[in-house]
């Protein structure tokens, strides 16, 4: 595998993690537009713990995920009082605030950026992503995931049926943030440099688009969306200056063709018989 291909695979892995971070709360109906802020928390936490506290790579990255989860849990209570477009706005503002804080935080380099001494190779990034993907897949077969879908469909009925709606929403939001923090930590230690500007509006927006384009109804949607957004612009590289125009056109066409995302149902897995075939 060439260095270019490996590099691309790492970017894909980080994007898939970001997409999962958006997907989990979205499956309960919460649009998190500030996901880059949680990635920044993870990245800076992992970088600082490695640089200043001498933590090993694994511990630092895990702590990055933990730090993002802590921040999410702390803000979840006020933020999840809002719904729909207001929740999106609140998370958007939160992402901006977090980035602004790091941009001015002298101990981690402020606007000059923050070099990271600990390093992890591409294999570590890919393996962690595979692990998280497996966990999210497992999670999607549990009652927890079913309850999140119920909350998205009708939160009032979910409450009447005895689901602890508030707690489930906080859990989905926090879990998403933890994955975002993890991806931030991996990013920091793989590229050995973090700067606050990277974790801006565009990163949050793209990450949300991976999920919306890929499909919000199954775990495979975010994976497909991230792959589409990461790989297609690369494939279009030959067309030089036109590649983003062609790419944008493709996105519009896909949204027109499949407004609910590329993947709407579950994946048609060959080893899983479909509903229609089960019943006579």
């Amino acid at each position: 595998m060439t260095a270019y291909q490996t590099g691309l695979l790492v970017i894909l892995a980080l994007n898939v993690l970001g997409a999962f971070a958006v997907y989990l709360p979205l499956s309960a109906g919460q649009l998190n537009l500030g996901i880059a802020g949680f990635m920044a928390v993870g990245a800076y936490a992992a970088a600082w713990l490695g640089n200043e506290q001498g933590w090993g790579a694994t511990a630092a990255i895990a702590a990055g995920g933990g730090a993002a989860a802590l921040v999410a849990c702390a803000v979840a209570v006020p933020i999840l009082r809002t719904h729909g477009i207001y929740l999106a706005l609140a998370t958007f503002a939160l992402g901006q605030v977090i980035t602004a804080v790091f941009l001015n935080l002298e101990p981690v380099g402020a606007a000059a950026g923050y070099p990271v001494t600990e390093h992890i190779g591409p294999a570590a990034v890919l393996l962690t992503t595979l692990g998280v993907a497996a966990l999210v897949l497992l999670l999607s077969c549990t009652r927890f995931a079913l309850c999140l879908t119920a909350i998205r469909s009708d939160a009032v009925v979910a409450d009447l049926m005895g689901m602890p709606v508030r707690a489930l929403k906080v859990a989905a939001f926090t879990l998403g943030a933890a994955i975002a923090g993890l991806s931030g930590g991996l990013y920091a230690l793989h590229y050995n440099y973090v700067e606050a500007q990277h974790f801006g509006v565009m990163l949050s927006t793209y990450t949300v688009l991976y999920v919306l384009l890929g499909g919000t109804r199954s775990v495979w949607g975010p994976i497909l969306g991230a792959a589409f957004f990461t790989l297609i612009p690369e494939l279009l590289r030959a067309s030089a200056g036109w590649r983003y125009a062609i790419f944008a056109l493709l996105v519009i066409l896909f949204m027109a063709w499949r407004p609910a995302g590329l993947l709407t149902g579950g994946l048609r897995l060959p080893w899983r018989r479909r509903a229609a075939e089960e019943t006579p």
Binding site: R143, L146, C147, T149, A150, S153, D154, V156, V157, D159, L160, M161, G162, M163, P164, R274, A275, A276, E278, T279
Partner: protein, 248 residues
Amino acid sequence: MALLDIENLAVSYGPVAALRGVTLAVEEGRITTILGANGAGKSTLLRAALGAVAPRAGTIRFAGADVTRLPVHKRVAAGLSLVPEGRRILITMTIEENLLLGAHLRPDQGAVRAEMAAIYDRFPNLASRRHMAAACLSGGEQQMLAIGRAMLARPRLLMLDEPSLGLSPLFVERLFGLIAELNRGGLSMLLVEQNTGLALGVAHHAVVLELGRVVMQGDPAVLARDPRLQEAYLGESAEPAPQPIPAA
């Protein structure tokens, strides 16, 4: 002791009092029906019993324990289950998922599967479409699904809010057959129903609410003949169903 014991319950929505000093008891194994005009507080009473609205005053005891301050999910776990007005099934989710969600608090997966199979046996239309979005069901089938979903929580008290609303006469008959049958199996029920004639026909005890207060309660057969009830709530259709409707 009564299964559900409500004492001096008061509920307000802002400055508007929905229930004032409501006291009633639901006996184990019986069907209690709550009658009253629109806005009398019937749905509020069910929601307060479930914990979806907080009371301003009063106590709610269920199965001997004070549940007044418990959140909904603890009351559902304790055996209270509501079939909400308008059914409110999750139409974007499959029929199977709707049923599974009814049992989301139960650890005994084997028994849940068996009970789901029994529901499918009883309602073949649900079985044949179990993996389709519940939106494909007719109103009557959705009501059966809503009751099945509530039953999968293994309630000790099943509360039904206007179950016959918007159903065809055929399904209303099947619905009341099902209610009578579930009750013969020992299930206690609290039934809010616009169709007073049918409700009085199936119930063992009736409570009449008016503007948030209990104005009458007692034997349904006696209440059905009470001229005040006939004038105020029943109008022309005051006659109770001549006999309980046979199971569909």
